[in-house]
Point group: C2
Chain length 245, copies 2
């Protein structure tokens, strides 16, 4: 019987408690994204449970994409700094042909004050400082996506246009390496809207043309919301893809 645990915890399966402990270590940045965590045997010893119990805890964390298991190597903290994980949150695919890489162009990065809606989404107070980033993503010269990104200024203080421009790779990888913030999950709300005048210029589409409005709220560890992203997708030759299970 593992004393350390039974002492403090109210009843729940042992592996759930282990899961919570590992989660706490992730949240406390004890192991950074991409890093190797201790082996199942070591964790079992540390928590005074059997390997099978640790295994079940890790299984669930791996199923939630928080950990990645690699046979023969070990278990690693999930990261957005890897090939296969790059487009985990981007569901836009071309109607015909392969999934292509989009070229990013950052347009602006300013400090603004949060309105009530955005403050509420990010669990801040209205008027709190935010950083607003605008970018366009294109393929073969044709702009496809226009995005507005909103971030709490406290966490992303040093972010500026230079840093964004010099970064090659996904924005979520930048958040990880420069702001110790790993995105765990996101919620998206999708609508069809008509494009307005200012967006018309960016996306090279006539005013009133239908575009997909994708509002995303992204969360780090502990269900903490840290990014709002409002994007317009030109779905003339591509579409938003979703798998239902």
């Amino acid at each position: 019987m593992p004393e350390v645990l039974t002492a403090s915890a109210s009843f729940s399966p042992l592996y759930q408690q282990i899961k919570a402990l590992i989660l706490a270590s992730l949240q406390a940045a004890e192991w950074l994204p991409g890093a190797l965590i201790p082996s199942e045997m070591e964790l079992a010893a540390r928590f005074s449970v059997s390997q099978g119990t640790v295994r079940k805890a890790i299984d669930e964390l791996a199923a939630q994409n928080l950990l990645v298991r690699r046979q023969g190597k070990g278990t690693f903290v999930a990261t957005h700094n890897e090939e296969d994980r790059q487009y985990r949150f981007l569901h836009l695919v071309p109607d015909e042909g392969q999934k292509f890489p989009l070229i990013s162009q950052f347009l602006a990065c300013k400090k603004i004050k949060a309105n009530t809606t955005d403050a509420h989404l990010l669990k801040l107070k209205a008027g709190d400082a935010l950083i607003k980033v605008n970018r366009v993503q294109s393929f073969a010269g044709k702009p496809i996506v226009f995005e507005e990104i909103l971030l709490p200024a406290t966490r992303f203080k040093e972010l500026d246009l230079t840093m964004l421009t010099e970064w090659s790779g996904p924005v979520y990888a930048l958040y990880e390496t420069r702001f110790a913030t790993h995105m765990v999950r996101a919620e998206e709300k999708i609508k069809a809207t008509a494009i307005d005048e200012s967006l018309s210029t960016y996306l090279h589409l006539p005013v009133g043309h239908p575009v997909l409005l994708v509002e995303r709220l992204a969360f780090t560890y502990g269900n903490k919301p840290v990014e709002i992203r409002r994007a317009r997708y030109d779905t003339t030759q591509q579409h938003y893809q979703n798998m239902l299970n």
Copy 2:
């Protein structure tokens, strides 16, 4: 060592083989949707493996929503004939307030011939007979969704407007009870489009108004595509919701 299995199967983990066997029983309709399957102990005996191995197989099938475990009761075949599973594939939610029930009105149900696109999606030949169903779904008198549903006529032969009208409940539940066809998963492609004249009447929106076009391809057991659904969602006061993990 389980002889029955090692004899025929090429190498793969035992629990994967068990999984395949259970899947085969599902596909062969040995156990119908909603039915209780044999207990883990019985299956373990039947396949000459340990309970733990059957358990792991069932775990994965439950994770894919093919089976449902109920502690103290047993394991059941997943079905669309149940409260919590009703809206498994409908991601439309109101911007404000609770998820509300939509009222279905079926407009038509005719036999047509498949064009090349639809034939290809359903893995049929161009010209093969399809059944085309049209319906509108409304809330508080306001039409929200217009759908066109395409089904292979062979599998859904007896389907007609009367059957649809008299059925209360999800269409996928009708497929199960009347056509022994359980929908396992689906793929959706989403675009923003302008509404045309005919749809304008159904959705009570001006011509050219942006709507969400949702094209769904739904599959039964064995990855067999059996339904195409092309829907238009009025996203003025509701949105398509998606969770990214």
